[in-house]
Amino acid sequence: MLGIEDPLIWLAYLACLAAAAVSVGYGIAQRNRAPDTLTREDRTWAKEEKKVENEL
C-alpha cells in the first residue's frame, strides 16, 4: 500500500492521516457543545497572570 511493503509503516502513515481527520471531526462536532462562560475566578486568575507576565 502507498508503495510501502511493511504494514506497520503504511499503517503509521494512514494512522497519522486518520488521527488528523478524527481531530478535525471532533473539533467540528464539539464546536458549540461545551459551555463558554468566563467566571469571576477566571478574571481574577487572568489579572494575576498579567502581573506575573509583567514581572518577567
Binding site: L2, G3, I4, E5, D6, L8, I9, A12, Y13, A15, C16, L17, A19, A20, V22, S23, V24, Y26, G27, I28, Q30, R31, N32, R33, A34, P35, D36, T37, L38, T39, E41, D42, R43, T44, W45, A46, K47, E48, E49, K50, V52, E53, E55, L56
Partner: protein, 612 residues
C-alpha cells in the same frame, strides 16, 4: 557535501526584515492586549486557530524538524508513529482530556506555573521547589537541542562554521528573550507558525514531486533496503520503509528498542508532561476554545512532524537519484540487477591519481553504498590500475555520518537557494517560539518556584527580577555550552528525548492523578516524583549505554564499561521512560492507597464542580 555560498546582503536583509516584523509584533503585544491573559481580561478568548498555532509553534521546534527529521533520514519512516502520537496524544488527549481539568484546577487554586500547580494541588512547597529545580536544571538540555538544530542548518545554508552559527544564533536568542521576548505574545507565535506552515508545505510538495509522486517516491525508497549500511543492518535496520527488527536478547534488536522506546514513546508520551505546554491550558478561556483548537492543532502537527519525517526518509531516494557522484574502488556487489555496490570512497589526490578517503572515526577507508552510474579504468596513488566505480549514495553519507546534518544537507543540495532562506526563517521561527516559552518556564521556575519559595518574595512586593534574569542568562550559557561541546550523531533528538522522558517519569503520574483523582495523596505524589526522577537518572547514568557511556560515570565505576549491563542485550538500548514511568505510576497508586486522603476542604477547593 558543500553548503550554499556564503551569506549575502539579500540574506541579511530578509533575516533582518523577519526579525523586525517579529520584534514589532512583540512590541505591539507588549503595549497592547495580545497575550493570552489579555484576551481573558478583555472578556473573550483568543481565536482558536491562533491559539492552536501558537501552541503548535511552541510544541514544534528545530529539534523536531532538523533533529528528528535527521533521525528519520537515518532510521526511516518508523518515526511516523511518533507523528501519530504527536497528534493523538500531544494534541487530542492533551486538549480534549487534560486541557479543561488543568485550566479549571489551575484557576481554582490560582496557579501560574506548572510547579506551582503541582505544589498547590498537593499542598506542598517541597513539590513546587523540587519541580522548579528539575526544570531549571534540565531545561537547558532541551534548549541546547533547539539551538543545535538551528545552528547546524545555518552553518550548512550560509557556508559558515557550526561554532560561528551557534554564536550568532545565541546572540539572536539573547536579544529576543532577555529584553522581553518572554511574554507569550500569541500573534508573534502565529506569524512564526504561518511561516513554518508555508515552509513545510513547499518542502513536502517539492520532495514528492521531484521523486515522481507519492507512491513512486515510496517505491523507490522501499527498493533501497539493500543500501542500508552494514552497521545499521546489524542493529536491525531493515530499510527506510520498514520497522526495525523486533525481538529481545540479540544485537539486531537494538534499533527497535532505541527507536520505539526512546524516540517514539519517550517523546510521544512525554509531551503530556511538558511544563511549557501545560501552562498554556490555563490561559484558555473555556473548554469550548480547547475543543475548537483541536483541528488546527492536529493539522499543524501532522505538517510539522510528518513532513520532516517523510522528507528525511525520502532524502535517501533523492540523493540516490540526484546526489553528487562519489567515486571509489568496489568492495562488494550489493545487487547486480539493480547495479548497486559498496565502494571504498576515493578522491583524486593529484591529476589522474586516486587515493582512499579515510573515516576519521575508524581510521579505515570510508565505505559507501552506491547506485552505480559509471565504471572507468583509473590509477591509484601507488600507480596501480583499478576499476573506478562512480555512483550516488544515501543521505547519511552526504551528511558525513551525522544524522543532524541530513535535513540541512538535503535542503542545501536539493532545493533552490531562496527556499533555503525561507527554511532558515522557518527554523528560526520554530526555534524562537519554542525558546521563548522554554526560557519563560525556566525563568519562572527559578524566580517564582525556587527563589520565592525558598527565600521569600522581596518586601517591596517586586518579583525576583534579578534572579529571573540571572537564571535566564545562566540557562542560556549552559545551553550554548552543551550545544558547543556535545556534537554526537543525532544529539538533538537524544537531548530532547532525555528531557521529555525525565519530565514524563517525574511529573506525569502526579500531574494526571492530581487532575482526576481525589484519592492521590501528597506522600503518594512526592514518592512518585522521586521514584520517577531517580530511576530515570540512574538509568541514564548507569544503564542506557549511549548516555551513560558519554557521561562517563559508569566507566569510572566499572573500569571502562558503558553500561552496568553491557553484556545483557538489549537492556542498554532501553529508554528510562519504559522503566521509570510505570514505577512512578505504581508508586503513586501504592503510597496513596496506604496514606491518609487529603482533607475534604482542600478537595472541595480543587474540585468545586464535583462536591463529595
Amino acid at each position: 557535501m558543500t553548503g550554499h555560498a556564503a551569506i549575502d546582503s539579500i540574506d541579511i536583509l530578509v533575516i533582518l526584515l523577519y526579525l523586525v516584523a517579529t520584534g514589532y509584533l512583540g512590541w505591539l503585544g507588549w503595549k497592547g492586549t495580545k497575550s493570552a491573559s489579555d484576551f481573558l481580561l478583555a472578556g473573550r478568548g483568543a481565536h482558536p486557530v491562533i491559539m492552536a498555532i501558537s501552541y503548535g509553534a511552541t510544541f514544534i521546534s528545530t529539534s523536531a524538524i532538523v533533529g528528528f527529521g535527521g533521525v528519520a533520514g537515518l532510521f526511516g519512516m518508523s518515526l511516523l508513529w511518533l507523528t501519530f502520537l504527536n497528534i493523538g496524544v500531544g494534541i487530542f488527549i492533551a486538549f480534549a482530556v487534560l486541557g479543561e481539568p488543568t485550566r479549571r484546577i489551575g484557576h481554582h487554586l490560582g496557579a501560574h506555573t506548572f510547579p506551582e500547580l503541582l505544589g498547590l494541588r498537593y499542598q506542598s512547597k517541597g513539590i513546587q521547589v523540587f519541580s522548579g529545580a528539575l526544570i531549571f536544571l534540565f531545561m537547558p538540555l532541551y534548549i541546547a537541542a533547539v539551538m543545535t538544530g538551528g545552528s547546524v542548518f545555518a552553518a550548512s545554508q550560509f557556508g559558515v562554521d557550526f561554532e560561528v552559527a551557534l554564536l550568532i544564533f545565541s546572540l539572536i536568542t539573547a536579544a529576543y528573550v532577555i529584553p522581553g521576548g518572554l511574554k507569550a505574545v500569541m500573534y508573534t507565535d502565529t506569524l512564526q507558525g504561518i511561516i513554518m506552515i508555508l515552509g513545510m508545505l513547499f518542502l513536502l510538495w517539492f520532495t514528492y514531486d521531484s521523486l515522481g509522486g507519492v507512491i513512486q517516491a515510496h517505491q523507490t525508497l522501499t527498493s533501497m533496503a539493500n543500501m542500508v549500511p552494514k552497521p545499521l543492518q546489524e542493529m536491525g535496520h531493515q530499510g527506510w520503509t520498514a520497522m526495525p527488527e523486533f525481538g529481545w536478547g540479540a544485537k539486531n534488536y537494538e534499533l527497535w528498542w532505541t527507536v520505539v522506546t526512546a524516540i517514539i514513546l519517550g517523546v510521544g508520551i512525554g509531551v503530556l508532561a511538558q511544563p511549557q505546554l501545560i501552562v498554556r491550558f490555563m490561559t484558555v478561556r473555556s473548554r469550548r476554545e480547547l475543543d475548537r483548537a483541536v483541528p488546527t492543532g492536529a493539522l499543524f502537527i501532522i505538517l510539522m512532524t510528518g513532513t520532516p519525517f517523510v522528507v528525511g526518509s525520502l532524502s535517501n531516494a533523492w540523493f540516490m537519484q540526484n546526489g553528487p557522484l562519489l567515486h571509489g574502488k568496489m568492495v562488494k556487489q550489493i545487487s547486480a540487477e539493480q547495479n548497486r555496490a559498496v565502494i571504498h570512497v576515493m578522491k583524486e589526490a593529484s591529476p589522474g591519481r586516486w587515493e582512499a578517503v579515510m573515516n576519521p572515526k575508524t581510521g579505515k577507508p570510508s565505505l559507501a553504498p552506491v547506485a552505480v552510474a559509471e565504471r572507468q579504468p583509473a590509477v591509484d596513488a601507488k600507480g596501480q590500475p583499478f576499476e573506478k566505480v562512480s555512483g550516488r549514495s544515501i543521505a547519511v553519507v552526504y551528511a558525513k555520518g551525522q544524522a543532524d546534518e541530513i535535513i540541512p544537507t538535503y535542503i542545501t543540495s536539493a532545493l533552490p537557494r531562496w527556499f533555503g532562506l525561507l527554511f532558515f526563517l522557518t527554523l528560526l521561527s520554530a526555534a524562537m517560539s519554542t525558546m521563548s516559552s522554554q526560557f519563560h518556564t525556566l525563568g519562572t521556575a527559578a524566580g517564582r518556584d525556587l527563589w520565592e519559595q525558598l527565600i521569600g518574595k522581596p518586601a517591596d512586593g517586586q518579583p525576583s527580577l534579578k534572579v529571573v534574569r540571572l537564571a535566564i542568562v545562566a540557562g542560556l550559557l549552559v545551553s550554548v555550552t552543551l550545544a558547543y561541546t556535545v556534537r554526537d550523531e543525532y544529539v538533538i533528538a537524544r537531548f530532547t528525548a532525555i528531557f521529555f522522558g525525565l519530565c514524563a517519569a517525574t511529573f506525569m503520574p502526579a500531574y494526571i492523578g492530581g487532575l482526576f483523582s481525589r484519592r492521590v495523596t501528597r506522600p503518594g505524589a512526592v514518592a512518585s516524583m522521586l521514584v520517577g526522577f531517580f530511576v530515570s537518572l540512574f538509568w541514564l547514568l548507569f544503564i542506557k549505554s549511549r548516555e551513560a557511556g558519554a557521561i562517563g560515570l559508569v566507566k569510572a565505576v566499572t573500569g571502562g564499561k558503558s553500561s552496568l549491563v553491557e553484556d545483557v542485550l538489549n537492556w542498554p538500548s532501553v529508554d528510562p521512560i519504559v522503566i521509570a514511568l510505570p514505577l512512578s505510576l505504581l508508586t503513586l497508586a501504592l503510597v496513596s492507597a496506604v496514606t491518609r486522603p487529603p482533607d475534604t476542604a482542600h478537595l472541595a477547593r480543587c474540585f468545586p464542580e464535583k462536591p463529595l
